[in-house]
């Protein structure tokens, strides 16, 4: 450690106190992921009408969030990392929704 160490350059995430995610947590996450995989397959065979894709994407998103928070440690990371992950998905959503705005409104016809 030099005397010039600037604390703002290290935000003390898990590694500051060296928070180590335990295998127990990983096993719970693992089980959850497998469970929800089975759920999504079962749900695909039930006719939920327009909700089928919503349920499928919802389950997939839930699984992704779980992987991000626990397998990828984001729950225990700095605000910067959390913001970064959010920024990535935000930009992805901008791409999807704004491009979609063109395709959806084409069917509305001229004024």
């Amino acid at each position: 450690m030099t005397e010039y160490h600037d604390p703002s350059n290290v935000v003390n995430p898990e590694h500051g106190e060296h928070h180590i995610v335990t295998p127990a947590i990983y096993m719970m996450v693992f089980g959850t992921l497998l469970l929800f995989t089975a759920l999504t397959v079962v749900a695909a065979y039930i006719d939920l009408g327009v909700f089928n894709p919503i349920v499928a994407l919802g389950i997939a998103s839930f699984k992704a969030v779980v992987v991000i928070l626990f397998f990828m440690h984001v729950k225990y990371q700095s605000r910067l990392v959390k913001l970064t992950v959010g920024a990535g998905f935000f930009t992805f959503l901008v791409l999807i929704t704004m491009t979609l705005s063109d395709y959806i409104s084409r069917a509305w016809g001229l004024w």
């Binding site: 992704a64 990535g88 979609l100």
Partner: protein, 254 residues
């Protein structure tokens, strides 16, 4: 591609973010960082930024999928029903397991257990290879049935499913041609995903070798940690691909 500055080993750009902290002597502290914590955080942040580029990269294809699924829903249903649910589900479980072992590998590095680290990395690799094997089998089946997009794409099964023993609605010929778009997206998205897995498997081999030599069980965990981020990301892409490609409409037909 080779970056000869790191004279000991080659690496691709995917690894450059975490690999370049390799130093001949321990600790692998680089002179331009004040502390090792700063270096480790910078590496993790850098890897996340790289993963953001991957989100946007796959994002383009996800949009194309969204558009054409809306435009040609019937064709997408028929195409999706050509895929095998048991194989797809099994592959999802395999990949989740591979990710589970990767998370455990990171834990083993953090608690400095070399033996466990190597075992978990090997298990991660094995399940990854299993995934690719199943995928190869699925691709092969599509090849046999002439469902690979291109000049030899065969729509007979979609126009006249009953003749092939399939419980599907028959498609008009022009909608049947749109199944080619479904399969294009299937191969493009799972193919791009598989490419990322192959790159990851290559890196895993290299990291396993270095782990065996004890490079990551003395406190320097950044490469394992950051590769884990990459591997989990590839897993997440599959978690979305599976329902989107395999589970479009599996309701029993009346």
């Amino acid at each position: 591609m080779d970056n000869a500055i790191v004279a000991t080993h080659p690496h691709t750009h995917e690894t450059a973010v975490h690999a370049e902290h390799e130093h001949v002597s321990l600790p692998q502290h680089r002179h331009h960082f004040e502390t090792e914590d700063q270096q480790r955080e910078a590496a993790t942040f850098g890897m996340w930024l790289f993963l953001l580029t991957e989100i946007m990269f796959f994002g383009g294809m996800f949009f194309a999928y969204l558009l054409y699924r809306n435009w040609y829903y019937d064709a997408f249903v028929v195409g999706s029903n050509q895929l095998s649910i048991p194989l797809g589900t099994a592959n999802t479980a395999i990949l989740i397991t591979s990710g589970f072992f990767m998370a455990l590998a990171v834990w083993a590095a953090e608690v400095k257990k070399r033996g466990l680290l190597v075992i978990f990395l090997i298990l991660t690799t094995l399940f990854g290879i299993a995934f690719i094997g199943v995928k190869a089998d699925e691709y092969h089946e599509k090849w046999e049935k002439h469902h690979i997009p291109g000049a030899s794409f065969d729509v007979a099964e979609f126009v006249n499913p009953h003749a092939y023993g399939l419980k599907e609605q028959p498609l008009a010929p022009d909608m049947a041609q749109k199944v080619q778009i479904y399969f294009f997206l299937y191969f493009a998205m799972t193919g791009m995903h598989a490419l990322h897995m192959l790159i990851g498997l290559g890196l895993l081999g290299w990291l396993t070798w270095r782990a065996y030599r004890g490079e990551f069980s003395a406190g320097y965990v950044a490469p394992i940690e950051n590769f884990g981020l990459y591997w989990h990301f590839v897993d997440i892409v599959w978690l979305f691909l599976f329902p989107l490609l395999y589970l479009i409409n599996r309701h029993p037909l009346h």
